[in-house]
């Protein structure tokens, strides 16, 4: 097992999680490859995201719009903004071709907004492109544990 790579990848993903929990969206947007995709599928086994319906399938433009909406104050579902705390763990390197690394981990996310705390658990799969001693995100897939169920609205970036 390549412990150094595992450490690098988990440090990068933990940092990303911390940015999202603390609303550091410009920094978060800068983590991405221009052609990167942020995906929250409905069916956890889905692989053809482009030709199926997802909860989110954001290219660079949509990621920027999503971030703008969260901070705009124009949306009643995100003002007040939900608070989130997520922990990421159970990191595993699934593939490494020297240029890109595929990493899977578990995410436990608690959300609190207006008297209600909710819990979303997910498998995260990252395709990371090496960039010096760090990475850029080429793809992030958030497979919610209950993605195939009727959900409640999600007013943040899981």
């Amino acid at each position: 097992m390549n412990i150094e790579l595992l450490n690098q990848a988990s440090a990068f993903i933990s940092q990303e999680a911390d940015m999202l929990d603390h609303g550091e969206y410009p920094e978060w947007l800068a983590l991405w490859e221009e052609k990167g995709l942020y995906i929250v599928p409905i069916n956890p086994d889905e692989t053809d995201f482009a030709n199926t319906l997802n909860y989110a399938c954001d290219d660079a433009k949509m990621r920027k719009l999503r971030v703008a909406r969260l901070g705009s104050g124009e949306s009643i579902s995100t003002s007040p903004a939900p608070r989130t705390i997520r922990s990421v763990s159970r990191f595993r390197v699934l593939a490494d071709d020297g240029k890109t690394v595929t990493v899977r981990c578990a995410q436990n996310l608690r959300e609190f907004r207006k008297e209600i705390q909710k819990h979303y658990t997910a498998n995260l799969t990252y395709t990371l492109v090496r960039d010096g001693d760090s990475f850029r995100i080429q793809q992030k897939v958030v497979r919610l544990l209950n993605s195939s169920d009727a959900l409640q609205c999600i007013g943040y970036i899981p």
Binding site: V40, I42, A50, N51, T52, L53, N54, Y55, A56, C57, M62, L65, R66, A68, R69, S72, E74, S75, I76, S77, T78, S148, D149, A150, L151, Q152, C153, I154, G155
Partner: protein, 421 residues
Amino acid sequence: MTSQANSKGHTLADLVQHDRVHTSLYTDPAIFETEMDKVFANTWVWVAHTSEIPEAGSYKTGYIGRQPVVTVRDRKQQVHVLLNRCRHRAATVCEGHKGKTNSFVCPYHGWSYSLDGALRGVPSPESYGDLLDKADYPLVKLRVEEYAGMIFATFKDDIEPLVDFLGPAKKWMDLFMKQGGGFPIKVGGEHRFRFPGNWKIQLENTTDAYHFPLVHKSFLSSVDKQTEEMLDFVEGPGFVEDLGNGHSVMVMIPDLVDLEANLEAPIPERFAALAEELRADYPEDQVRRIVRAVGGSGFNLNIFPNIACSMAFFRVLRPVSVTETEIHHAVITMDGGPEAGNRARLRMHEHFQGPMGFGTPDDSEAWERVQKGSNAGTDQWILLNRGLAKEQETADGRRSDVSAETGMRAAYRQWKKLMTA
């Protein structure tokens, strides 16, 4: 509580007036119980689009009111809507949302039913002697009829034919299905979510143009100028029309009522790249037809009580309890149509709809606030008089401006008729 008065001295009939309804319609558990019988078990209820059960053995589970049902296509292509309940001791015979099967086998003691509901097999039948005639115990079957690919079922055997129930709504359904762009339309997946509020709050919303610029401000900020102007319809020339039997149509963008008209109009900027991509495979007239269809219809058709044909998707509602409702937003794609066009539809749907869309969560928040606010006061009313001043009789019913509450008044008139029958 059909005819006797509640604690405020109102009978069910008093709770719906021509210009207002009583808040207890959102909050009273006894009214909800009555609705399950008098509305949902007593009229045509939408269960599926034909594309959701494409082949013999395809099924879709769901609910009519709170009763679990299975919609299934049998080997002769006939569609059945069956109560999802074993005739032995009630276990559901089908789980999962959609799928394909050869038969329904109850998991508890193994009674098995064919796709048309007939009881075929009973394990170890000797114990029954001659007490059990299988012909007496098929899955309970509802009356089923279909129009424009929309499958409806009813518990009420002597109800009027579906086409009569739909009445003038039929021509709007025909118009809506033109968004196949020349291909059959297909449900291409759905967003399902719940909100803590009464089902009628959502029923009203599909015919509520008034909220759009305010609640969907953040969505409008995320689209191009041309789209934003197109969606600026509240003071525009559109209208709402009561179509009878609780149905209504809200035309927001009159230019997009007939997707096969006006094909020579310039292609909107946001579809220029898609049109260019389609030109590789399709002649210009077909490109224009597909692109126009991809944009969706300019109206919402509300069909009482649980389905709407809403711009570019089907909106399905399911009452869960007096204060909880499940919504499905099913995306419509072109069956056999260009992948690029379908991808555009999928991305548009994701942009507005669903729990992570830029539109739905704000609707959901507003509905939740309606439910919360409804707990205030002891004898308060919900106002539904917007647009009443200018309402006019038409051949199909009555019509007022696009942000009129005419469609809600139509729905509540039908609600009252069913609840007090």
